[in-house]
Amino acid sequence: MTVGLVIVSHSAKIAEGVVELAGQMADGVTIVAAGGTDEGGIGTSFDKVGAAIEAAESGDGVVVLCDLGSAILTTETALDFLDDSARAGVEIADAPIVEGAVAAAVAARTGGDRAAVISAAASANGATADVSDAVSAAGAVASSDPDAGSDATSSDVHIRRVTLVNGSGLHARPAAEFVKAASAFEAVITVDGVDATSLLRIMALGRGKGSELELTAEGRDADAALDALVALVESGFGED
């Protein structure tokens, strides 16, 4: 199954550019651009949005990403004109259009259902800020008393280290598989200090082949989660 994506922007160039960018990471996912007015100007077109939603629907649902206000208004209006069964398959993501589309496309590529794609897109909200927060927090720990650092690590937090062996490291597809695996557990899991269920935050770490990852897990199934994730990383995500 593959969820289709629609990119609604005021600008035809932005919509096409986002389709190009997201498509590069999501071979086989239908991503349709609906940018600009019918005349090719700046604005949004009800007819283009409606046609794009139809083109993106292959039976597994459609997720729409929008830029500024009227793109959302036009999309919501287009949804109102769909019949109930078609309407039920379409959802608008609350996410920034570029980062959200990339995350959504990768989630769709790895077989995520509509809810998973929506959630991947939403993980792009504030992703950049969280990464810089994590980096500065890590810096603060490193510069403080080492004893204080070890005190901060509660005995309930399980920690494991594993080295990336695959060629592309935690790039889009491996990162998506990692997130999918991490999401299956109750435990709160981090990888190098960032939320292991956030695709964009993991991709933003930029970890390549040979990097050592620090995985932490806290919760009832923490050990099982770490076993599974270490095994996944050591397997090379099916890459060479």
Binding site: T37, G43, S45, F46, D47, G69, S70, E76
Partner: protein, 212 residues
């Protein structure tokens, strides 16, 4: 005297003319606190509406004409006003769908449903510096005039007057919805373009009713 399909046709023609005449003013207002496309978008939309509504069969009801206005605005305006005015006319047309003529109660029902449609779509409230600042006082004034037993033309004149006052009330506001909300206090001192186009459309309705 209840208003028939000819009234709606005249209203649309007068709206198209008023928006065309005020195109530059709407563009200027929108350039100050928005993206500058409101005049052009509305002119394109209402020009298309005037053409499309002329193609309707002779037995079309006011509701049929208003529905064509809605779908044409939605598909031709190209900015936020397309879905907003389109939803307004769509919900309004549904409120009067089964009526061959519009009496005072039907006009109030139309205006109320239209305003509710805009709120549903745009989530704006009075005071957000949007077209709702014109629509809500207009609906209230129309309902009050209808309750006093005024004529259809008087009801619509009351709505247009209240919309005008409502539009003027947006001058000192900071916008909380739409593109102008990005400007913060810089929006103060500028009138919301959507509230101005709302006033033009309601004034056209009042003039068409007075001429009917």
């Amino acid at each position: 005297m209840a208003l028939g399909r000819e009234f709606v046709a005249d209203w649309i023609a007068r709206s198209a003319q008023a928006i065309s005449e005020h195109r530059s003013e709407l563009i200027t207002l929108d350039r100050e606190i928005g993206d500058g496309d409101h005049g052009e978008n509305m002119d394109r939309g209402f020009t298309a509406v005037a053409v499309k509504s002329g193609d309707l069969p002779a037995d079309a009801t006011p509701g049929d004409v208003l529905k064509v206005v809605a779908t044409t605005l939605i598909s031709t305006v190209g900015g936020a006003s397309g879905p907003l005015y389109g939803t307004a006319f769509l919900k309004g047309s549904q409120a009067v769908a089964d009526q061959s003529e519009l009496d005072g109660a039907a006009l109030v029902a139309f205006l109320t449903a239209a305003r509710d449609g805009i709120v549903l779509r745009g989530k704006a409230e009075v005071g957000d510096k949007t077209m709702i600042d014109a629509w809500t006082p207009a609906v209230d004034a129309a309902a009050a005039a209808q309750a006093e037993g005024r004529s259809e033309a008087e009801i619509l004149a009351a709505a247009a007057d209240a919309a005008q006052t409502g539009a003027e009330s947006t001058d000192p506001l900071v916008a909380r919805k739409g593109r102008a909300s990005y400007l913060g206090e810089r929006a103060i001192g500028h009138r919301d373009p959507g509230s101005v186009s709302t006033t033009l459309i309601l004034r056209a309705a009042a003039d068409a009713a007075a001429a009917a």
